[in-house]
């Protein structure tokens, strides 16, 4: 689902490009709830807007900087505007 022809990816990556955000696409190294969403037939991306942050999930002293957190809200504001405005798909008539 990360091809330019995919309308959702186009909306997601296009919004990131507008924000001058660099993305790195990867396979998640563990399991999340996304696997059930994908198995039910819906495209899903795993994204937590945390850059400049050491990977500390499940670890001691897990933390997040408030500026990174607040920037993440701005990022979602832009992503949601783009995703919720994707024009009707062929299947939606």
């Amino acid at each position: 689902c990360i091809e330019e022809s995919d309308p959702w990816w186009k909306a997601f990556s296009g919004a990131c490009r507008d924000m001058h955000i660099t993305l790195k696409c990867e396979i998640f190294p563990a399991g999340t709830d996304s696997r059930f969403i994908r198995a039910a037939g819906h495209p899903a991306l795993g994204f937590s807007p945390m850059n400049h942050t050491p990977v500390l999930l499940h670890d001691h002293n897990e933390y997040l900087n408030e500026r990174v957190f607040l920037r993440g809200i701005e990022i979602y504001t832009c992503l949601l505007s783009s995703l919720a405005s994707v024009p009707p798909l062929p299947a939606e008539g």
Binding site: C1, I2, W8, C16, T22, L23, K24, C25, E26, I27, F28, P29, A30, G31, T32, D33, S34, R35, F36, I37, R38, A40, H42, A44, L45, G46, F47, S48, P49, M50, N51, H52, T53, V55, L56, L57, H58, H60, N61, E62, Y63, L64, N65, E66, F69, L70, G72, I73, Y76, T77, L80, S81, L83, A84, S85, V86, P87, P88, L89, E92
Partner: protein, 201 residues
Amino acid sequence: RGQDPGEHPSVTLFREYLRLKTVQPEPNYDVAVRFLERIAAELGLGCQKVEVCPGRVVTIMTWQGTDPQLRSILLNSHTDVVPVFEEHWTHDPFEAFKDSQGNIYARGAQDMKCVSIQYIEAIRRLKAEGKRFPRTIHMTFMPDEEIGGFKGMQLFVKRPEFQALNIGFALDEGLANPTDTFTVFYGEKCVWWIKIKCEGN
């Protein structure tokens, strides 16, 4: 709710959520559901609760689009967090202590209470700006993810309430990245759970 008058209200809300002890193996889900219901009321969003199995409630908040026939955007997150070894923490993991650099220490700060509040605050801002979009946006708040989702998402996707969301595309958690770049995950490894029984002698 805020002690620090100079603090951004979104940060204050994040820290409040981090203080709720939704920690495995006995997460206080009731307190999380009440918190979410309060926010839905504040934002004027529809709020639905689906008890997928006893004591395991999925909370759904909905911002209706202008063309509700279209498939929706799903913003998913989980409310539970993994346990802690408190002796290895420099601060109480459920205090949400913020240091002078602005680092907020808490179990769930990255995985993934940040994301739940970011979804909420992004929608709060868009609504406050008077924005409307064609597609409906649903936020789902899931129990049980950290122990496999078997009493959470796995059951929820089988429910008629899930079908009714009419999902076109979903976002869920990713991971932090120490560099300037953001990581995005388009798939994940297959899970193969094995049970090992060790008998002592």
